[in-house]
C-alpha cells in the first residue's frame, strides 16, 4: 500500500489485490470484543476526588458511543465506493475525516487483538501454529499495524 497522491484534504493510495483482500478482512473483523467492560481504561491512577467516579462513568459512556460509531461506519465503509479496482490493483480514496476514521478503526482492532492475546510485551512472538484463535488475533494485530503505518508513512519524512 503506497500513497499515490495527496492534495490538501484528499489522499489516494495504491493497493495490491492481496492488500485489498487483507484490508477488507481486518475491517470486517471489527469489533473483536463485544463487552464494553473489557475495553474500559481508567481515567486516572491517583485521583481520589469525589468527581472521579462520575468522570470514569462519563469516559466509559463516551468510549462506548465512540465504538458504536466506528462499528456503524465500518459496516458501510467498504461499500461506499472508497475502493476502486484498476488494472494492476486497487485505489483507495480518502478525505481527511475518512482517513482519521480509518486510522482510529485500525488502531482499535490492533489494540483489541493485543489485549485478547494477553497484552504481550514482545509483539514479534508468534503464537503456536496449532492455536487457530491466537494466530488469527496475531495476524489481525500485525495487519492493522501494517495499514496504519502505510497510511502515515509519508508523514515521517515531512
Amino acid at each position: 500500500m503506497k500513497l499515490r497522491t495527496q492534495a490538501r484534504n484528499n489522499w489516494e493510495y495504491d493497493l495490491t489485490h492481496q492488500e485489498t483482500m487483507c484490508l477488507r478482512m481486518v475491517i470486517n473483523a471489527f469489533p473483536l470484543t463485544l463487552d464494553p467492560a473489557k475495553t474500559a481504561v481508567p481515567i486516572s491512577r491517583t485521583d481520589s476526588s469525589t468527581q472521579a467516579d462520575e468522570r470514569q462513568r462519563l469516559l466509559n459512556d463516551s468510549l462506548s458511543e465512540h465504538r458504536s460509531q466506528l462499528k456503524r461506519r465500518a459496516a458501510v465503509f467498504l461499500t461506499a465506493d472508497k475502493l476502486k479496482e484498476e488494472r494492476s490493483g486497487w485505489r483507495l480514496q480518502l478525505g481527511a475525516e475518512e482517513r482519521e476514521f480509518l486510522l482510529q478503526l485500525l488502531n482499535e482492532i490492533r489494540i483489541e487483538s493485543w489485549r485478547a492475546l494477553g497484552e504481550p510485551a514482545d509483539l514479534e512472538l508468534v503464537p503456536r501454529p496449532d492455536s487457530h484463535k491466537e494466530l488469527r488475533l496475531y495476524n489481525l494485530m500485525q495487519l492493522a499495524g501494517f495499514f496504519e503505518f502505510a497510511l502515515l508513512d509519508h508523514e515521517v519524512g515531512e
Partner: protein
Amino acid sequence: MSQVLEPLTAPTPEKVVETRSQDRRAPVYYVICWNDPVNLMVYVTHVFMKIFGWNREKAQKHMLEVHEKGKSVLVREGAERAEHYVHLLQEYKLHATMEPAE
C-alpha cells in the same frame, strides 16, 4: 489636531479579584500519556499533532519521552479541559490519564 474625548462616567470596575481567587482554588490536572508496547510511534506522533495542534518536532519529543521514560506530561489544565483531552486520546486508544497536579 484631533480632539480628545473624556468619558462622561467612570467605567464600572469588574470583580476581577473574585474571579482570580476562584481560578486559584480550581483543581489543576496533568494529562499524562503512558507507554505501551503496541501503539506505533508514528501513530502516537500523529495523534499528538492532531489533538493538540502541535508541530511534528514537539509531538515527536513527547512521543519519544513516552517511549523512553514510560510517560510524558502532555498538558496542565483545569479539570474540564483535562477530561476532554483524555477522552480524545483514549478514543485514539492511547493510554492517557488525568492526574491531580497538587
